[in-house]
């Protein structure tokens, strides 16, 4: 049996008298790429924020590396690298300075050459490394944030709409990088509404609708999950 890294059990989240997550159950194994797929307002980001300890669970439990998000959030955060949907680092700092700053927040010391190697790995143009981030495009900011996540050397990656706004080449590069990291043992939990992207990269997909997990798709022996099957289920749900 594979080691369970992330688990949600009967997870409910209610905010302002509205049920956002309703009895959500899933688990993610070590080295797995798990995508939570859903339309706008399905509860994807809330699930991610609950796992990060930003939104507290109302009922049920959520755990990362067998530690509860309610009681051990500092431990969980030390094991997780988080890539937000819209990466907004500090505009007045350069890419390198931003990475240095955020690494020092996590109490991680990296040499400048380590940072440069990570920036090469995410294919951020060298001339941008020491430019203020206010000059960066969304894709460039995303790459800098991925470099930060790599440098944190965290065993778990949480990605919020990671390919949103990226051009097709950047998406391919990103997908390759995530696959490599997963092969090296990193567990990836991503939330997205990109059916095709999720099917290409994920080992398993959970379909979330109005706060409930309404379907689970697996890659099995195939190289990727059947896009038609997921798309059909996703469309039906979204048309309701």
């Amino acid at each position: 049996m594979q080691e369970e890294i992330i688990a949600a059990s009967s997870l409910c989240v209610r905010l302002n008298n509205q049920t956002i997550l309703d009895n959500v159950n899933f688990n993610v194994a070590k080295g797995e790429i798990f995508a939570l797929l859903g339309g706008n307002g399905a509860g994807k980001s809330t699930t991610l924020k609950t796992l990060l300890g930003i939104v507290p669970p109302s009922e049920g439990s959520a755990a990362v590396m067998n530690k509860s998000v309610k009681t051990d959030i500092d431990f969980i955060r030390s094991k997780v690298a988080y890539l937000p949907e819209s990466v907004m680092l500090y505009g007045h700092l350069t890419g390198v300075e931003n990475i240095e700053y955020f690494l020092s927040l996590a109490d991680i010391t990296c040499s400048e050459s380590d940072i440069e190697r990570a920036l090469v790995r995410v294919a951020l143009q060298e001339k941008a490394w020491r430019q203020p981030m206010s000059n960066y495009s969304k894709g460039m900011r995303q790459k800098a944030a991925i470099a930060l996540a790599l440098l944190r050397d965290a065993p778990i990656l949480f990605l919020d709409e990671p390919t949103s706004g990226l051009d097709p080449n950047a998406i391919d590069e990103f997908n390759q990088l995530i696959a490599t990291l997963a092969a090296e043992g990193t567990t990836v939990f991503m939330v997205t509404h990109d059916v095709y992207g999720a099917c290409q990269i994920a080992h398993r997909i959970g379909l979330l609708d109005h706060g409930k997990v309404v379907g689970m798709f697996e890659r099995g022996d195939q190289s990727h999950i059947n896009t038609e099957e997921v798309h059909s289920a996703f469309s039906k749900r979204n048309k309701r």
């Binding site: 924020k49 990060l52 300890g53 930003i54 500092d74 955060r77 030390s78 997780v80 988080y82 937000p84 819209s86 990466v87 907004m88 680092l89 500090y90 007045h92 700092l93 300075e97 700053y101 955020f102 020092s104 927040l105 996590a106 109490d107 944030a145 944190r152």
Partner: protein
């Protein structure tokens, strides 16, 4: 990660924010101006006092040389009294803006001379003088609010908050370190000109240290208040602008409303005679004496000065001893009002000290004035110094009026000299 590493990181972060550097530079310039303004004012007061001391002696010697009797000598000669500013007064001009710090007095009734003008300065009643105490007590909270109101909300609005809190090993340390670094930079911008001013005026180490403690204490109060509010549930979903508005409302309440309301309340709670009433009572007593029989004056005078009962015989013409006796009686008649005025002033001050606990800016201003010896107590000490000196003058002249008949100019060299009893090294 140690607090020191956090502070080091946030210092480097702050060093790259040009807008904040501009703000600190502006605060530094304001502090320089406040200190310069205070030093200019106290230097001007010291210069005025020195000039008056010199002129006072020359003027008195000239007047005395022309006199032929002690009564005229006492009547025509003026005596300078003054209250020199302490070496720390530049930082908090305080009540020196309201109460007089120099009086030229004569041997006439003293209460009327002290209360010739009521303690009032309408030009400065609302905003006050732009000295270091004003900068620290009134404007400093605004600087802290400006720096810290959006410490969290600006990160939320920029979409960085979640990344920051999930990356930071201890998120509370992040905000705390950031606030400490910004408030330290603010303190340096405020304090450096003050320290330069204290060195220039040779203020003592103790008073300088106390003043610094008050400044740092006030910064800490507002830093704690702002950080607590920005971390509260009430602020979580608010924009930076709304949080700033709410904190400004708090500032307005404690820096403006509490002092204004407490002033109104104190005026209602404490009944005080006006300076004009004291002056009028004393003058009426003096003027009435001209029309009353001599005995009316002598009875009142001898009730407090029985030692002169054998010297009250009067000739057919005007005699100075009777004139000065009814001046004394004028003071005696005004003394009840004068005491009530002083008691009311002290009571008002005590009540203000209680109300100040509701208003950190008011408390800060009071503490700074107290350290700089420019508070109400210092003003009242000066008033008392004037009375004491006037008493010495009376004790010098009365034996001459009642026992000596021949004027001797050399005797005038024994006239008591005024001293403001202030050890400058203390301030």
């Amino acid at each position: 990660m140690s607090l020191f590493s956090n502070l080091h990181r946030e210092t480097k972060f702050l060093a790259k924010q040009r807008n904040l550097q501009l703000l600190f530079a502006t605060i530094f310039v304001l502090s320089c101006f406040a200190v310069w303004s205070g030093i200019s004012e106290t230097t001007s007061q010291i210069t005025t006092i020195e000039r008056l001391i010199e002129k006072d002696t020359i003027d008195r010697e000239g007047v005395l040389a022309k006199q032929s009797d002690y009564g005229s000598a006492a009547y025509y000669s003026f005596h300078l009294t003054y209250s020199s500013p302490s070496n720390m007064a530049f930082a908090a001009i305080g009540q020196r803006d309201i109460y007089p710090w120099k009086h030229r007095i004569r041997m006439l009734a003293i209460e009327g001379q002290i209360y010739e003008t009521d303690a009032d300065n309408p030009e400065l009643s609302f905003l006050g003088r732009f000295d270091f105490a004003f900068l620290v007590s009134v404007l400093l909270p605004l600087f802290v609010i400006l720096l810290l109101h959006d410490i969290r909300s600006v990160e939320r609005e920029a979409g960085r908050y979640d990344l920051l809190v999930t990356t930071s090993k201890r998120q509370q340390r992040l905000w705390f370190s950031r606030a400490i670094v910004m408030c330290s930079a603010l303190s340096i911008a405020l304090i450096l000109p003050f320290i330069a001013g204290a060195l220039y005026t040779q203020a003592s180490l103790a008073t300088t240290g106390l003043m610094l403690l008050v400044v740092l204490g006030h910064i800490t109060i507002w830093m704690t208040l702002t950080l607590t509010f920005t971390a509260s549930k009430a602020a979580v979903k608010q924009s930076s602008a709304k949080i700033a508005s709410m904190l400004l409302a708090v500032w307005l309440a404690v820096a403006v409303l509490v002092p204004v309301i407490s002033n109104i309340a104190i005026e209602k709670m404490v009944t005080s005679p006006k300076g004009g009433d004291i002056l009028l009572t004393q003058r009426e007593a003096v003027n009435d004496a001209w029309d009353l029989p001599y005995s009316a004056t002598w009875d009142e005078f001898l009730s407090t000065h029985p030692q002169w009962k054998n010297g009250i015989d009067m000739g057919p013409t005007f005699e100075w001893k009777w004139y000065y006796a009814f001046q004394q009686v004028g003071d005696q008649k005004a003394s009840k009002l004068s005491n009530a005025y002083r008691e009311a002033t002290l009571k008002k001050d005590k009540l203000a000290s209680h109300f100040a606990w509701l208003s950190p800016p008011m408390l800060t201003q009071r503490l700074m004035s107290s350290i700089a010896q420019t508070d109400t107590y210092a003003a009242m000490r000066y008033e008392q110094n004037i009375r004491n000196y006037h008493k010495e003058l009376r004790e010098f002249y009365y034996p001459l009026f009642f026992t000596e008949n021949t004027f001797n100019l050399d005797k005038m060299s024994e006239l008591p000299k005024f001293s403001d009893h202030k050890e400058k090294s203390k301030g």
